[in-house]
Amino acid sequence: MIKVENVSYYYQAGDEKRIQALKDVDMTIEEGEFVAIIGHNGSGKSTLAKLFNGLLIPQEGRVLVQGQATNDEDQYWSIRQQVGMVFQNPDNQLIATVVEEDVAFGPENLGLPSEEILERVEQSLSQVDMLAFRRHAPHLLSGGQKQRIAIAGILAMRPKCLVLDEPTAMLDPRGRREVLETVRRLNREDGMTVLWITHHMDEAVHAHRVLVMEGGSVVLQGTPRQVFRQSQQLQQLNLDVPAVTRLGQVLAQDGYSLPQDILTVEEMVKALCR
């Protein structure tokens, strides 16, 4: 789906004081994958996210979306239609005063016939479970609902891949759950490729693959189990391990025979009550 080939990115590239945000990043995102990207602030996560749909063009290396290079100007629109982005703050992403008009904005801009727009709006809103709110005013919705509307607006463009840059950072626990569940369902049921950038390790646990960024490079990657086993390395990177995983690790030090890669409460209960 997406190939990142030997990419480096600099801010203020022409300047002597240029800042290197990404360093020789190589990765492949497969179709239908759910990939979580973690790393603390300044590790290069958000820069990487903006490369996936050509919002930023790397100065070195290249990014391919379905084989099309993002630095090819002729492909801009096609790439942005295929890879949709959702940002942290839902308030900055909603523009209309009625939910369905907001969702229709993208397809309207594509110049689609109105029946098709209507169909896309309805489908997108049901995909995020917000169809009942189609005539509501977005500003009166909760944070989680707003973020789901923002996602519906992207879905109406019929993308193949969603890139979400800390989509839950401004939400309360209920909103976080709503948004995470919505996106997991899109991945599971509709085969949507998902790149999920987060600080919350409990969210990364649900990914197929976790990439850990530090200093502009991918320093660790693997399944959540493989990654969260490396608790020492993660701690050195100032990242947390999910609390349940950490508990499993300290109990193992006490001589309990527990798997070292427990990720969820359910797994821990099973392991302890064997």
């Binding site: 603390h40 942290q88 626990p173 409460v265 209960v269």
Partner: protein, 287 residues
């Protein structure tokens, strides 16, 4: 007594079709020098409540006294707001000056303090939030990282030298490292300045580590209150009102449902470890 509320009720837009009761008969007492964690999901009334504490809102009915001042339409709001500093959500959006030092000194300068005193207060406040004065004071606040901007904004309120400091979700949107650092700074500020601290948060784990007492709000009322330990032990009820109980509390509750006799009021990994060891020891002696 720092803050006392008696049957505090607040209704937005009374008498209109938009009438909404955000607070209903809230009774609470916050002592001088306490650290309070105020918890509740969105819409539970937390923000409405704290806006009463510095007189941005006034009770529709009931009574509220803050640092000896009764919060009514006739209260001396200027005096109240000097005593009670309120840090809003995403306070970094309110930075505006050309340099960090000028931004932090703005408040005290506005109080009419001489330039020298304002700058001295600003410097002390920046140090209190862990910023290196020489590195930041002449920079534009907008060049700083998100975590640093947040701390500059908090310093701006600290420079007013409030007796009560209220922060609305101070760690929202920060990464784990900045979150921990900020909580650590708040803990130290509380100790050094001996002020009353009210921290509003979605994250029970986070406030539990620093708070003496938690107040949990639901539907405009105080749902429960107590030490973090007491509140955590009521995990099932908290889940029922839509709060996210910490994963370790969830684990202990799940073990209990499996018939295991285990403490559910654990606050961190070490306590969970101890609880599980105790349970296992008990089992071995039974056999």
């Amino acid at each position: 007594m720092s803050i006392t509320a008696k049957d505090l009720t607040h209704t937005y837009s009374p008498g209109t079709t938009w009438e909404a009761t955000a607070l209903k008969d809230v009774n609470l007492t916050i002592d001088d020098g306490e650290i309070i964690g105020l918890i509740g999901h969105t819409g539970s009334g937390k923000s409405t409540l704290i806006q009463h504490f510095n007189g941005l809102l006034r009770p529709t009915s009931g009574a509220l006294t803050v640092q000896g001042i009764e919060v009514t339409a006739h209260a001396n709001l200027r005096k109240l707001r000097q005593k009670v500093g309120l840090v809003f959500q995403y306070p970094e959006h309110q930075l505006f000056e050309e340099t960090v030092l000028a931004d932090v000194a703005f408040g005290p300068k506005n109080l009419g303090l001489p330039q020298e005193d304002s700058l001295r207060r600003a410097q002390t406040a920046l140090a209190a939030v862990g910023l290196e004065l020489d590195q930041v004071k002449d920079r534009s606040p907008f060049e700083l990282s998100g975590g640093q901007m947040r701390r500059v904004a908090i310093a701006g309120v600290l420079a007013m030298e409030p007796e009560v400091l209220i922060l609305d979700e101070p760690t929202a949107g920060l990464d784990p490292k900045s979150r921990n650092e900020l909580m650590e700074h708040l803990r130290r500020i509380h100790k050094e300045r001996d002020l009353t601290l009210v921290i509003v948060s979605h994250s029970m784990e986070e406030v539990a580590a620093v708070a003496h007492r938690l107040l949990v709000m639901d539907k405009g009322s105080i749902f429960t209150q107590g030490t973090p330990r007491q509140v955590f032990s009521r995990g099932e009820e908290l889940r029922a009102i839509g709060l996210d109980v910490p994963p370790l509390t969830k684990l202990m509750l799940a073990l209990q449902r499996q018939g295991v006799d285990v403490a559910t009021d654990v606050l961190n990994v070490q306590e969970a470890r101890a609880a599980i060891q105790q349970w296992r020891k008990g089992e071995n002696t039974n056999v």
